[in-house]
Amino acid sequence: MKRIILPMLVLGILGGCETMGVSDKEAAIEDRSAAKPAPAAAEPAPAAAATSGMSSEQPVQGQAMGDPRKDPANILSKRSVYFDFDQYVVKDEYRPLVDAHAAYLNSHRNARVAIQGNADERGSREYNLALGQKRAEAVRKALSVTGVQDAQVEAVSFGEEKPRSTGTTEADYAENRRADIVYGDE
């Protein structure tokens, strides 16, 4: 990584000229600080430029035939659990979805999932990250009580950073109060 140093200011005292007879010794002290080194404009690790390109909803081409998770008629193809405003309880209507994934994970011990929690855009980004985490955690716990192993599941949050819907209506916000189940091999 190359080191970049900004040019520094060259300072001098502009003292009073003789006719004024006023000089400013004090100024000699306060002008020492000059310019601070500037940050390097750099792209750090190669990872910085990498994007996951991941989409939780897109079927992966070339998957083995008959993967039930890819079958639109199978409930395993449904991946999103929606939450009410300020709520973190998995609603009854999503029980069949969560139970189906739990059964899949229990019968495929090598399968891994990330539960990605999301929040709407209102308020603090960090607090929204914590709210998204709470939603992801609720789904993780629902899987866990059925016997899914902790090592199979990671609950993470995107907060308000990856909105599926970018509008500002209540419907848009509702779309973003969501946790997605994403398999590690997808």
């Binding site: 390097a40 430029a49 308020g123 960090e126 607090y127």
Partner: protein, 426 residues
């Protein structure tokens, strides 16, 4: 002139890297929308310029800096004489315009495309020089010189150190691209620290200003990195199972408070700056996040919903003495503590509007500082006299500054882009 001969003991710190220039970039707008009742009136007389010199911009930058402070007003100079030497000043004219102080200066061309910038700050009442300095600057340094001059004027007149030569960081979204940038305190002169196709949030300068911690989503989940601002190298600070976010440096720069979810929901941990020695600060069944240290290191302030709604609390770095601080709203988040430890700034939601609130810790007295509706991320200036924050204007993210009395607000914005997550550096 005689005085030319007895300037300088001159520090010639002209480094080889001088050729590295900052390109001219899209301008940010600064809007001062109000003012304090008693501001110090200053006549900032446009500097006399050498041909091709940047003197008009120089004076403009100094003026915007001084105005943004909220403590200084500018006396109109249009149509008046433009003295650049003390002997040329007709004090009666400037006193008549209400000026208590007068700034004069000139820019003189030097060989090699450099300029000499001289300025003097004169007491208009006593008709004496308060200070006078000369800067020898390269073509890319006139902004730095202007900020330095503004700092000197501000400190001479108010007794408070200026912050115009300090830096800020923020995240700029352009299309699908996110850039963490470090810029001058007026948002100009930015440089990219890191670029990503995924979001970046929560930048935090180390106390010495040499490193920056931030949260990046580039690897499918929030991970905290620490990056050197000197050479761009970076390390992963926290990439534990679950989410890793909200880094906050301790005042000595040796450790950070962070929010992890590895053991439970979002909880605050302490971690050494090299990523070792993780320990849990407090245990709650609720959300605890957005830690920030008091400047004396005695307290960590944070956001928690343990009382049923998000509020600001504090705890000692040993994990004891938890105390709730905010009670006035149903949603109070994103604390920052003033450098003197006397004030808490945070975001409060009132009737659907998220605004910056200043809370005096000794008395609990509060004042809403802004009149916008989507404010985020308040951050104190190093001298404690201004707050930097993000807000939305016409659906676009912009950065703003506000004085602690709420009466002087300025907007730093770049057309067509989206700025967020600002933080004021040392």
């Amino acid at each position: 002139m005689r005085f030319l001969t007895h300037f300088f003991f001159r520090m010639l710190l002209t480094l080889a890297a001088c050729v590295f220039g900052l390109q001219a970039r899209a301008a940010l707008e600064i809007q001062v929308t109000g003012g304090a009742a008693s501001r110090i009136p200053v006549a900032l007389i446009p500097f006399q310029a050498a041909p091709g010199s940047p003197a008009p911009e120089l004076t403009g930058i100094i003026g915007q800096d001084l105005l943004r402070s909220g403590l200084i007003s500018l006396v109109g100079t249009a149509g008046s004489q433009r003295p650049y030497e003390p002997a040329q000043i007709d004090y009666g004219v400037w006193r008549g315009k209400g000026a208590d102080a007068i700034v004069i200066g000139q820019v003189i061309g030097q060989p090699g495309g450099r300029f000499e910038v001289r300025f003097r700050l004169m007491d208009a009442v006593r008709q004496t020089q308060l200070t006078g300095l000369s800067f020898n600057v390269g073509p890319d340094q006139w902004r730095a010189a202007a900020h330095k001059i503004a700092d000197i004027i501000y400190e001479k007149l108010t007794g408070i150190p200026g912050v115009f030569s300090t830096r800020i960081a923020y995240v700029q979204k352009r299309g699908a691209q996110f850039e963490l940038r470090v810029a001058d305190a007026d948002g100009q002169n930015w440089q990219t620290v890191v670029r990503s196709r995924e979001s970046i949030i929560s930048p935090a300068f180390s106390p010495d200003g040499q490193r920056m911690a931030y949260v990046s989503f580039e690897d499918r989940k929030p991970i905290i990195y620490v990056q050197s601002l000197r050479d761009g190298s970076r390390r992963t600070l926290a990439a534990f199972k679950g989410s890793n976010s909200a880094p906050a440096w301790s005042p000595d720069g040796r450790r950070l408070a962070v929010t992890l979810t590895r053991d439970a929901g979002s909880q605050i941990y302490l971690i050494n700056a090299d990523g070792s020695g993780v320990s849990r600060l407090i245990r709650s069944g609720a959300i605890d996040t957005e830690a920030v240290w008091s400047p004396d290191g005695q307290w960590i302030y944070f956001t928690s919903d343990r009382g049923g709604s998000p509020q600001i609390y504090r705890v000692s770095p040993g994990g004891g003495g938890v105390k709730r601080i905010t009670f006035s709203g149903g949603y109070s988040v994103s604390p920052d503590i003033s450098p003197d430890g006397k004030y808490l700034a945070y975001i409060r939601r009132d009737e659907g509007r998220f605004r910056v609130v200043l809370h005096e810790l000794a008395t609990g007295q509060e004042r809403v500082l802004t009149d916008t509706a989507h404010d985020e991320s308040p951050s104190f200036a190093p001298n404690g006299q201004l707050l930097l924050y993000a807000t939305l204007v016409n659906g676009r993210g912009v950065l703003g500054t506000v004085s602690l009395d709420g009466r002087t607000r300025a907007r730093l914005s770049e057309p067509g882009t989206d700025a967020r997550e600002p933080v004021w550096g040392p």
